[in-house]
């Protein structure tokens, strides 16, 4: 396992030695260029066709009044759809719920993931069993797990509801949001733990030992050695978890369908398309979500200096 972690992080050093950095274009270099572009072309075409083109199209749709039920009434309305969304209390409630779920689920899974990473790093017994067991929540179909949580909290059916005085947790906003966060944390902590484990194995054991000999306590060693050295790994893990959590959809769709003000922005966008059949408003919501995600990414990368994964690949 340690080897793989080294692969991930030690790559930079290896890359710099890659031969073939000559700048003048010999015949061979030209052929290499051609082959390179040829090899990436299919991937680029598919990615552009499925994301870049639709997002441009979504911008266009968001400026139109476009209801599928009234196809004869399509017309250009400028930013009116954005005005409608931003002045609607539905958008702000959904945004608030999304932010709450994101903040709580990411911070709880960060703390638990850190503990899990320490456990997987230190433990000698049942290593394989712990990893296998924790990969199950990561791998399980979100919808399947969500049904498990839904029934667990259904009064009369669920063991968790029974354990909490037959509470109908999913019919109450605060409790339902807590259940959604629980489902998210259960599902995503293993992934967080594995990413942190990769960072943890980069912390030199000698440094830990030396600090221990100098009389540093476990907490001091964690705070002053482990944490700073793991900072890049933590930031990448938190960035990915945050972006992932912000687009939460599956768990809410199954658990509450967004009832009692528990819908996320993704649920709101979906409802506007498939229940209200409103392509204009739905597209405006899509674009706003895209902007939110872009802001989160920029804040992490510019503000906290998160190394975007792959930047080391790009350097080559």
């Amino acid at each position: 396992m340690a080897v793989n972690a080294e692969v991930a992080a030690g790559s930079e050093a290896v890359q710099e030695q890659t031969p073939g950095h000559r700048r003048q274009l010999s015949e061979g270099a030209k052929a290499e260029r051609r082959l390179g572009l040829l090899l990436i072309a299919p991937a680029v075409i598919v990615m552009v066709a499925v994301t870049a083109y639709p997002i441009v199209y979504a911008i266009w749709l968001s400026l139109e009044k476009y209801n599928l039920e009234l196809p004869q009434q399509i017309k250009f309305v400028g930013f009116a759809n954005y005005g409608a969304v931003l002045s609607s209390q539905y958008w702000w409630t959904a945004l608030e719920v999304t932010v709450i779920i994101t903040v709580f689920s990411v911070s709880i899974s960060l703390v638990l993931g850190m503990l899990l990473a320490q456990l997987m790093h230190r433990t000698i017994f049942f290593r394989g069993a712990v990893r296998t067991a924790s990969l199950l929540p990561y791998g399980i179909v979100t919808v399947a797990a969500a049904y498990g949580w839904q029934y667990a909290w259904t009064p009369g059916t669920g063991y968790l509801s029974a354990a909490f005085n037959n509470t109908a947790a999913l019919t109450n906003q605060a409790q339902a949001v807590a259940v959604i966060i629980l489902a998210e944390v259960w599902k995503t902590t293993p992934f967080m733990g594995l990413l942190l484990l990769a960072g943890l194995s980069l912390v030199p054991e000698d440094l830990q030992k030396a600090a221990k000999m100098d009389g540093a306590t476990t907490w001091q060693r964690f705070r002053l050695i482990t944490l700073p050295l793991m900072k890049p790994a933590i930031l990448v893990a938190v960035l990915f978890r945050t972006l992932d959590s912000f687009r939460i959809f599956d768990n809410i769709y199954i658990l509450t369908e967004g009832a009692n003000n528990t819908g996320s922005v993704s649920i709101l966008g979906y409802d506007n398309l498939f229940n209200a059949l409103n392509l204009g408003i739905g597209s405006a919501i899509s674009i706003l979500i895209f902007i939110c995600v872009a802001i989160i990414a920029i804040v992490f990368i510019r503000g906290f200096g998160t190394a975007a994964p792959g930047t080391d690949i790009g350097k080559r």
Partner: protein, 278 residues
Amino acid sequence: MAVVTTPRQKAGWGVANFVVIALALIPILWLVSLSFKTPAAILDPSFLPASWTWGNYTSILQNTQFIRPLINSIGIGLISTVIAVTLASMAAYAVARLQFPGKSILIGMSLLIAIFPQISLITPLFSVERRLGLFNTWPGLIIPYIAFGLPLGIYTLSAFFREIPWELEKAAKMDGATPFQAFVKVIAPLAAPGMVTTAILVFMACWNDFIFAISFTSTTASRTAPASIAYFSGGSVFTTPTGPISAAAVVITIPIVIFVLFFQRRIVAGLTSGAVKG
């Protein structure tokens, strides 16, 4: 990890391990337990069924509302995975080995798609697919799955490709092989383990998808298993088909359990090297 452990510490780690395994498994075991409960036992909140039945499984496995989507899931997942891994390995080889302009654009674009909110694509893609006649067809799901599988594949594979002993490629080129031949004959076999790992991750991502599956399908012609479960209905409006839904949820979890049991090391390696979730 050469830490000296006292028996007490050993016990401590043992307990911690046990707690982690229990927390990971209990929600899954609950679903399994529900799937074996009789309709009457569903209304009894105890964790284990008082009486066991295979009834929920026999009912869903005879139901075309589930079987057809299950076949769709397998077919769409496999086709998407094969195409995505093929395209991604071409791109990852270029990223890992060749000098060409536009490499950082490819990396940036992959990253952008990896973090892309799928919901932002639902509206425009729905509209495009309806116009092109792709709505409610296999390609209507396969194409977006490939697009979202590609970044995961490119990241994971370029990490694996870096580990390959490239001297062999040079040797092959010296023996007169073109770069393309060197790729197909020398590197591809060495890259196979990484490609298997990537294929598992991409397939799991397709298998897991729900938002595209409910948005771009309308009948069992192309609806996948996770989406079909959300459309299960009970015998009457007043009964929720808890047992059958649980059984179906367990059925779609079985492939994941098999992957995790057999490829645990590979999955961990793939996840941490790519550092990208699909």
